[in-house]
């Protein structure tokens, strides 16, 4: 069961596993620590962080999360948004 429903306010974990060793991360730097809104859940997909190293991969719910584009970059036009696919283990309630 996905933990977040469409419309849920979430924050992307402000975590930087790449500073602790070799990793494969599909969560872009620019959204780490940012607040967004869940748009939809796509269902669960094998965690690419494990797939990349040929480890057994748990299936993780994957979401489309919308972010306010000017808030992320401190520039841009009000109303523009970013829509990013993010796995559940990178999200926390906000």
């Amino acid at each position: 069961m996905p933990a977040f429903a469409p419309g849920a306010h979430v924050r992307v974990r402000d975590d930087w596993p790449e500073t602790r060793g070799r990793v494969h991360i599909r969560t872009p730097h620019y959204v780490r620590g940012m607040r967004g809104t869940v748009v939809r859940c796509f269902g669960a997909f094998p965690n690419p962080e494990d797939l990349a190293f040929a480890r057994p991969a748990t299936r993780r719910p994957l979401y489309h999360v919308a972010f306010d584009q000017p808030a992320v970059w401190q520039e841009g036009k009000a109303g523009d948004e970013l829509l990013v696919e993010i796995y559940e283990h990178w999200l926390e309630p906000a």
Binding site: F42, L62, G76, L83, V84
Partner: protein
């Protein structure tokens, strides 16, 4: 030896031999897959767009399930990541990028254009999408917001552009002929050929 420094051709040959020796895939499967990949081109996506413009039922299917909509037109999708379709409207314009690498809906658009993989496009699409569109000469009407879709994971995304005014009486093949690769990425919007 570091795998990143290996000769690409030799590495490919070695991996192919290993895959076939282990019975994971056959040479025929590899050949067929290369043929499918090479045959994909933006004309396939353009046919989908034209049909969606002409047929509301197909448009609904395409927005709900891009993979099924592609298969309905005979486009091979087996083994391809799920395809999502983003509809441009009077309120929102979609722009697709892959900031992490070069994820692209190859099954329906073919190989990505060279600039799609460039660091400049990937960085600027998310940070300065309006400046980027201006450089492409793409003028959006006032009040249209931009939605930048960063293709970071399991889906691949294509844009369903808006149908240009003046094409109301056109046939599907005429409509498909004006839909370009950039229109389905979102850097451009379809326009009528100059008379």
């Amino acid at each position: 030896m570091n795998i990143l420094e290996a000769d690409g051709e030799k590495l490919l040959a070695a991996v192919r031999e290993l895959l076939t020796a282990k019975g994971l895939v056959s040479n025929v499967e590899i050949r067929d897959r290369i043929a499918v990949t090479d045959a994909a081109n933006p004309g396939q996506g353009a046919r989908m767009v034209a049909k969606a413009w002409a047929d509301p039922v197909y448009r609904t299917l395409m927005l709900a399930d891009g993979t099924k909509a592609a298969e309905e037109l005979g486009i091979p999708m087996r083994g391809a990541p799920p395809l999502g379709v983003l509809e441009n409207t009077a309120e929102v314009h979609n722009l697709v990028v892959c900031t992490l690498c070069s994820c692209y809906p190859r099954a329906v658009l073919g190989y990505p254009p060279f600039w799609y993989k460039s660091a400049a496009y990937r960085a600027r699409a998310v940070r300065d999408p309006r400046g980027l569109l201006a450089e492409w000469g793409t003028m959006l009407p006032d009040g249209v917001k931009i939605r930048v879709v960063d293709s970071t994971a399991d889906y691949r995304w294509m844009v369903l552009p808006r149908r240009p005014a003046g094409t109301e009486a056109w046939r599907e093949d005429q409509l498909a002929a004006i839909v370009r690769e950039g229109d389905m990425i979102g850097v451009t919007i379809p326009s009528l050929p100059a008379r």
